[in-house]
């Protein structure tokens, strides 16, 4: 137990500072996000993620958004296990034929008003996988998308920025 306490105090608060550019981006996005989240979502945005066919690259970076350094929860953003409580749907990947129904069902299970954010170049237009017998291409071909986050995969700060962009649309 003592080792744990020791490690906790040694680590201190790691949320920030990064290098200057990144730091500025995250805190700037963060403070704007916080404001919007307070104003429009009474302080808390619940996000449901659906991997609709991604290579797992975007998932890694979305997970990073929740780590101690990016720490999205400080802005009132958290990931929820159920679409029933979700305000925003994050979708990664080209939409595979085999995930289309599950994606639509998840969307339909969310209460309105709801936002959809497509993450990554694949979510935009199918990326390198394109459109084919197995891939329906970008998320926009299946659901109404409020914002796209480009990148392969986008960095955690780009993901935070994209979420902000979508929230502002409400």
């Amino acid at each position: 137990m003592l080792k744990i306490f020791h490690q906790i105090f040694r680590t201190g608060i790691v949320t920030e500072p990064l290098d200057h550019v990144e730091e500025a981006k995250v805190t700037l996005t963060g403070s704007m996000l916080e404001e919007e989240v307070m104003k429009r979502f009474s302080g808390s945005v619940a996000i449901r993620l659906v991997d609709a066919g991604s290579c797992n690259g975007c998932e890694l970076e979305i997970s990073a958004v929740t780590n101690s350094i990016y720490n999205c929860e400080r802005f009132g953003i958290h990931f929820t296990a159920s679409p029933r409580f979700a305000d925003l749907l994050l979708v990664t990947g080209p939409v595979s034929r085999n995930m289309e129904i599950a994606l639509r069902r998840t969307y339909n299970a969310m209460p309105s008003p709801k936002l959809v954010v497509a993450v990554g170049d694949c979510g935009y237009n199918g990326g390198i996988f394109g459109c084919s017998y197995a891939s329906l291409g970008g998320v926009g071909n299946v659901l109404p998308v409020d914002a796209y986050i480009h990148g392969c995969p986008p960095t955690p700060s780009q993901i935070l920025n994209g979420i902000l962009k979508a929230i502002r649309k409400i």
Partner: protein, 523 residues
């Protein structure tokens, strides 16, 4: 070719016509008659070979029909058995009765090629879900990749358990966390799992078909997106297969840089996963701590290689990244910083009874089961299997920089964590040594596409385990077929075996300790 292989070939020849196929590079390839395909498997099994991969190829463009391939390994020998089907025929003898690991590979061949593995015990569709028309076979040349596939009404026949108190839990494809989609169906009595059946294929996006439409250079980018967490290892594996087929050799400096990136990918993923496993025992503290370390590695990657996950840094016959003195120093000081931190966290892991209670004896994959199923990677090494692609197929620089292999026999969650802890330490050492001896010279050598009909076979040990590629060049020197075998394709079967008798709440923990790729499996 060593004596053991020569004896084996002589023995196979005595059983029927066998000839060495020189069009396959990177492994010894033997052509056998179709009837010998399964018999060869039996002989190889007796000689203690393990099944590495099984796949088919449509060779219409070479005026042949379908060809089935199976790759085997023993020690450092990789052997490919190849069998052409007489035109018009669409069945071949199953290998599943000799190697249970072939079970899903053959269902996949059946679903995507429409080639029937005669004698296979279970030919329900795999990857191709039940709502696909039965007669759509996407990997045949006659199938146009752009054709949308209509949905039909059909049911998937799940394994059923019956009896008093037996109930079913269906989970997925959409899971609670930030992870990939797949469906798990448990039959349980109370909390105890009596059977688990997985169904995958949800993220099938037609990767193997897509390869056939891309140029060689773009195909490298696609291989880097087969499984995003193993982007470097997959890209290296694809490039090595293509280089084998073409007879091109990347410069020495490029090979070192590839190995440095492979090891850094291993470190980043192991760090993240060790933490995530602790998180699944509700010990969030270590999760947060390990994710800080992982983030530090990714930041150094961005600074040094220009991409957090090092995507698209591997190119045909070389690399598209270089290390300057500044970059080398950044990596060395990062290792110095995080390795000390890592050791402190490992001591906390060892010291925590509540964690110990969850990880010891949970999700046991017995060594004999691991061997029978042909599992690979850290999962195999945690269940007593001496397998590491870097040792079996020591392509440079791994011939000079030999990793020490951690080996545990208990096969439980703890073993899988511990093997990965040891591997992180080993990768730190390898990266430091590789950096110390990084040769000077060019980063890329000239790339010329292979000659028509030539193919290349490659094996690369990614962080998850042995990644296998086989690439065949078409008559117009484009890609005729690219077979991808992610380690997950072998290891997914193992979780169903390891989970029996465990309690339902331990499933996420067991699953995380295997951490298999859905995308790499579904393709």
């Amino acid at each position: 070719m060593n004596e053991k292989i020569q004896n084996l070939i002589r023995y196979l020849t005595s059983k029927g016509a066998v000839s060495i196929d020189a069009s396959v590079n990177g492994a010894i390839a033997l052509d056998v008659r179709k009837t010998m395909f399964s018999q060869a498997a039996k002989i190889l099994k007796e000689a203690d070979f393990r099944l590495v991969a099984e796949w088919a190829s449509d060779e219409t463009f070479f005026d042949r029909g379908f060809v089935v391939y199976a790759a085997y390994n023993n020690g450092s020998d990789y052997l490919v058995i190849k069998s052409e089907m007489p035109s018009g025929e669409s069945s071949f003898p199953t290998l599943t009765k000799h190697f249970p690991g072939a079970y899903r590979l053959e269902r996949q061949i059946d679903s995507l090629f429409g080639l029937n593995p005669g004698g296979h015990p279970d030919l329900r569709p795999w990857i191709k879900h039940e709502d696909w028309p039965e007669d759509s076979y996407p990997l045949r040349k006659s199938f146009d990749a752009a054709t949308p596939v209509r949905r039909v009404e059909r049911d998937y026949k799940w394994a059923k358990a019956q009896g008093e108190g037996v109930f079913e839990i269906a989970v997925g494809p959409v899971h609670a966390g930030i992870i990939e989609p797949g469906h798990f169906r448990f039959q349980a009595v109370g909390e105890d799992i009596i059977n688990l059946e997985t169904r995958l294929g949800y993220v099938h996006k037609g990767i193997e078909k897509r390869f056939e439409a891309l140029s060689w250079a773009t195909a490298v980018r696609l291989s880097g997106r087969v499984s995003g967490d193993s982007t470097v290892a997959h890209a290296v594996a694809f490039c090595m297969a293509a280089e084998e087929a073409a007879g091109c050799v990347p410069p020495e400096r490029a090979r070192y840089l590839r190995a440095i990136m492979i090891e850094r990918e291993r470190i980043a993923n192991h760090l993240g996963d060790i933490g995530a496993i602790c998180n699944d025992t509700a010990f969030a503290f270590l999760h947060y701590q390990f994710s800080i370390l992982r983030e530090k590695v990714l930041r150094t990657n961005l600074k040094v290689f220009g991409h957090r996950l090092m995507m698209d840094r591997v190119v045909l016959c070389g690399v598209d990244a270089d290390l300057t003195k500044v970059g080398t120093d950044a990596i060395l000081s990062e290792i110095k910083e995080i390795s000390g931190e890592f050791e402190r966290l490992v001591r906390i892991y060892e010291d925590n009874p509540s964690l110990e209670d969850r990880v010891f004896g949970t999700g046991v994959l017995k060594p004999e089961v691991a061997k029978a199923l042909g599992v690979v990677g850290f999962v195999a090494r945690s269940s007593g299997q001496k397998l590491d692609g870097r040792l079996q197929n020591p392509f440079p620089p791994y011939d000079k920089f030999v990793p020490r292999m951690p080996l545990l026999k208990s096969g439980d969650v703890h073993a899988r964590v511990w093997v990965r802890i040891e591997e992180v330490r080993e990768s730190f050492r390898l990266v430091k040594e590789l950096l110390g001896e990084l040769p000077n010279g060019p980063l890329v050598a000239g790339w010329v596409p292979p000659l028509p009909g030539q193919s290349g076979f490659s094996v690369v040990e990614g962080w998850r385990g042995e990644i296998v590629y086989w690439v065949q060049c078409a008559p117009d020197r484009s890609i005729n077929r690219c077979m991808v075998r992610d380690p997950s394709s072998m290891n997914w079967l193992a979780i169903e075996q390891a989970i029996r008798g465990n309690i339902v709440p331990d499933f996420p923990l067991c699953n995380k300790s295997f951490n298999q790729s859905y995308s790499g499996h579904d393709l």
